[in-house]
């Protein structure tokens, strides 16, 4: 019996050592980058359909500013912005999908908070949309401000979101009793609110604007002016692969900085001969900007050429679709907004 016990322990020790070595060795190079290049596509988690952010058309083509982040990463690491496999995820599923390795980038209008960043094994790489939580009501209700909310109001929202927590803080601080009705899928929330189950629908304002377009009669609903929270939305990666984290971060930063320097998808090639060294760095004509990631030198040029700069992405997905024509805080810092990224140099 003791003999077996000994064998058993040594077996376990061997397994443990094996695991320790493999993970140690792989941590030095970006395992995610290697896997992605081997597979030939970027595995990207998106929403189940939020116009402007990530939405699939009838033939399965995904568009949106979140989608563009994944396309930028694909252009950088694989050379082709279309080599992305999109996985639609509910708010509830998204983090588990990322930490369990089902996807490598989560670009799903996800709010950057301390507890998510610190606890769950995730790393937020930046902000691609500055948002805030708001309320939608039926126009006919005559409500024009959250000050008119009364005890007993029922509010529809999604489970597993910061919205659910903000909503409680908001109603509690005002001493209003309310009925929270929380669904797993955004479409279910919209259907319930639209049918009259709830008096108000609350989520990020961009989400409200986007979902309004899906209602039976969008003109019957208004988004109240008040914003009750800060919701910086951004792409997320798994903790533990610093190089992959950098690739995603700088793919997003490249798009924003390209807009700052006026580099667009149509003029990117001609910018190679620019007199400005910063512009030249952004299109891969100066410096060794890709080496540190294990990428070639034109990774950023490909992003700009294939996906475009942030302004182009915003215009294509959010402004031209009528969701939020006014860029508000999501304007460059040079134009009165708060988009400010560290320089690529």
């Amino acid at each position: 019996m003791f003999k077996h016990l000994k064998q058993l322990t040594s077996l376990f020790a061997m397994i443990a050592v094996l695991f320790a070595f493999t993970t140690e060795a792989m941590a030095k190079k970006s395992k995610t980058l290697k896997n992605t290049q081997k597979k030939g596509f970027v595995r990207c988690g998106v929403s189940q359909g939020l116009p402007g952010f990530s939405n699939a058309d009838a033939s399965g083509n995904w568009t949106g500013i979140d989608v563009d982040v994944c396309r930028a990463v694909a252009a950088a690491v694989l050379g082709d912005a279309n080599k992305v496999k999109f996985t639609p995820l509910s708010a509830k599923e998204r983090f588990t999908a990322l930490t369990s390795g089902e996807i490598d980038v989560l670009a799903r209008n996800t709010t950057w908070t301390l507890s998510r960043d610190a606890d769950i094994g995730l790393t937020f790489v930046g902000v691609n949309f500055y948002d805030g939580q708001g309320f939608m009501v039926r126009k006919s209700s005559g409500i024009t401000s959250v000050d008119q909310f009364k005890n007993g109001i029922s509010a529809c929202t999604n489970i597993g979101t910061t919205t659910e927590l903000n909503m409680r803080d908001f109603f509690n601080s005002r001493g209003i009793s309310y009925e929270p009705v929380a669904f797993e899928k955004a479409d279910e929330v919209v259907a319930a609110y639209d049918a009259g189950r709830c008096d108000t629908y609350t989520t990020d304002k961009s989400g409200l604007a986007a979902q309004r377009t899906k209602m039976k009669n969008p003109d019957e609903h208004i988004v109240l002016p008040e914003t009750i929270s800060k919701e910086p939305l951004g792409p997320v990666v798994r903790q533990g692969d610093a190089v992959w984290e950098d690739i995603v971060r700088w793919s997003l930063n490249t798009m924003i900085e390209a807009e700052e320097y006026g580099i667009t998808s149509s003029n990117a090639d001609s910018m190679k001969t620019s007199d400005n060294p910063q512009i030249k760095r952004l299109v891969g004509a100066e410096g060794e900007m890709g080496a540190a990631f294990g990428l070639d030198n034109e990774w950023n040029l490909r992003i700009i050429k294939q996906v475009g700069n942030y302004g182009e992405s915003y215009k294509r997905n959010i402004a031209d679709t009528g969701i939020l024509p006014d860029r508000g805080p999501n304007q460059l810092w040079t134009k009165g907004g708060i988009l400010y990224v560290p320089p690529a140099r």
């Binding site: 077996h4 058993l8 077996l11 376990f12 397994i15 443990a16 695991f19 320790a20 993970t23 941590a27 708010a91 509830k92 983090f95 588990t96 930490t99 507890s115 998510r116 606890d119 769950i120 094994g121 009501v137 039926r138 006919s140 209700s141 005559g142 409500i143 008119q148 909310f149 009364k150 007993g152 109001i153 029922s154 489970i159 597993g160 979101t161 659910e164 927590l165 909503m167 409680r168 509690n172 309310y178 009925e179 929270p180 009705v181 929380a182 669904f183 797993e184 279910e188 259907a191 319930a192 049918a195 009259g196 189950r197 008096d199 798994r238 903790q239 533990g240």
Partner: protein, 383 residues
């Protein structure tokens, strides 16, 4: 010696295999969680939950802990299962007996009922009741009263709530009446066995259960008031009912779908049980002069129950597990609240899914144990 090894070796190998598989998964999970900076632990249960729930049986507020949120959500699951089991049993027994009726219409409508509700996926039925049927209900301001004082609206079913004074006196009287009835029944059985006389047990019981609680009103100082739901305006076109009890539409849809679906299976168990009793039993009972009602009650049912109980237990277990489909329609059950919101807010996937699985396992085992006990009680006692 050789035989001993032969006996022990397979068992040893099995144990080794099980330990190895468990060990592998544990170590694998641990290594991966370490790599991603995820801690394993149950400390989160005492943290503040900070989310609200739509419908709770006990007092719950976002300031309470995740542990309390778990308890409250579990109660919601148990409530749905309990209501579902009660309704599906009542419906199932009626439909099951109706299927054996001599009446062509009754027999065939029962058969149609069973075939219809049994063969549509449960999730679809839940969606139907919630999104189609309940959505067709009026808004609170347009609601016409049902039975004069209750209102069925898209926001829920509003019923008057009871305001008791000296409720404990009333409850004591009720319990006293029930205890007295049990004793009378035992006594009546003894009398019948000894002297062959039948006491009018039913009438005595009815009298007891009405007179004792009535007395509590007359001389016990018990009063009962009703708080009626009253329409209240929130905004120009937005109304709710205040006061009384509000049953959320999510609960109604879920209980409706679960009981209708499961009742078809219970009905088939009941039919099978009754048909499983040989015809001779019925004929023998009739030949000694029992009425058809007495035959069913005294001869057929006691025997049929033995056939009915075990498969019906399975249906109760299924119903309980199926109640987790609540998550699809925003009813705050264990899966939606604990394995949903709490999992999301804490990120403790392994711990929370583990706890949830253990909980469903425990509920199922508890129901199975209860039904086994009942089955043992009604088994033929060989003397």
């Amino acid at each position: 010696m050789n035989n001993k090894i032969k006996r022990i070796l397979p068992q040893l190998l099995t144990i080794l295999f099980v330990v190895f598989v468990f060990g592998f998964f544990t170590i694998n999970a641990q290594v991966n969680m370490d790599n991603r900076g995820i801690d394993f632990g149950f400390g989160f249960l005492s943290q503040e939950a900070s989310f609200d729930m739509q419908f709770t049986l006990l007092d719950y507020d976002g300031q309470d802990s995740y542990l309390w949120a778990y308890v409250v959500a579990l109660l919601n699951t148990l409530l749905v299962s309990f209501l579902g089991i009660i309704f599906c049993t009542i419906l199932g027994v009626i439909i099951g007996i109706a299927r054996l009726s001599q009446n062509f219409l009754i027999k065939n409508s029962a058969a149609w009922y069973v075939e219809f509700f049994r063969n549509i996926p449960l999730l679809l039925q839940i969606f139907f009741w919630y999104y189609a049927a309940l959505r067709a209900l009026p808004l609170p301001e347009n609601a016409q009263p049902w039975f004069g004082v209750t209102y069925m609206t898209i926001k829920g079913y509003y019923i008057p709530s009871m305001i008791w004074e000296n409720l404990n006196v009333f409850m004591s009287c009720l319990i006293a009446a029930i205890v007295a009835i049990i004793f009378i029944r035992i006594y009546a059985k003894k009398i019948q066995e000894r002297e062959g006389k039948q006491l009018p047990v039913l009438y005595i019981s009815l009298a007891l259960i009405t007179i004792l609680p009535l007395l509590s009103f007359l001389i016990g100082g018990v009063t009962l008031d009703f708080e009626m739901p009253v329409l209240k305006q929130l905004a120009q076109t937005s109304f709710i009912f205040e006061g009384g009890i509000a049953l959320p539409p999510e609960l109604i849809a879920l209980v409706l779908a679960l009981s209708l679906y499961t009742s078809t299976f219970v009905a088939e168990c009941v039919r099978a049980g009754i048909q499983g009793i040989s015809k001779g039993q019925k004929e023998a009972a009739a030949s000694v002069g029992l009425t058809p009602n007495q035959i069913l009650k005294l001869v057929i049912m006691p025997q049929a129950l033995r056939i009915i109980i075990p498969p019906t237990t399975n249906q109760y277990l299924n119903l309980t597990k199926n109640s987790s489909l609540a998550a699809a329609i925003a009813y705050p059950d264990l899966v939606l609240v604990f394995a949903g919101t709490a999992l999301m807010q804490t990120g403790k996937a392994i711990e929370i899914v583990g706890i949830t699985m253990l909980t469903y396992l425990s509920i199922s085992l508890a129901i199975a144990a209860l039904m086994n006990w009942y089955n043992k009680r009604i088994e033929i006692k060989e003397k």
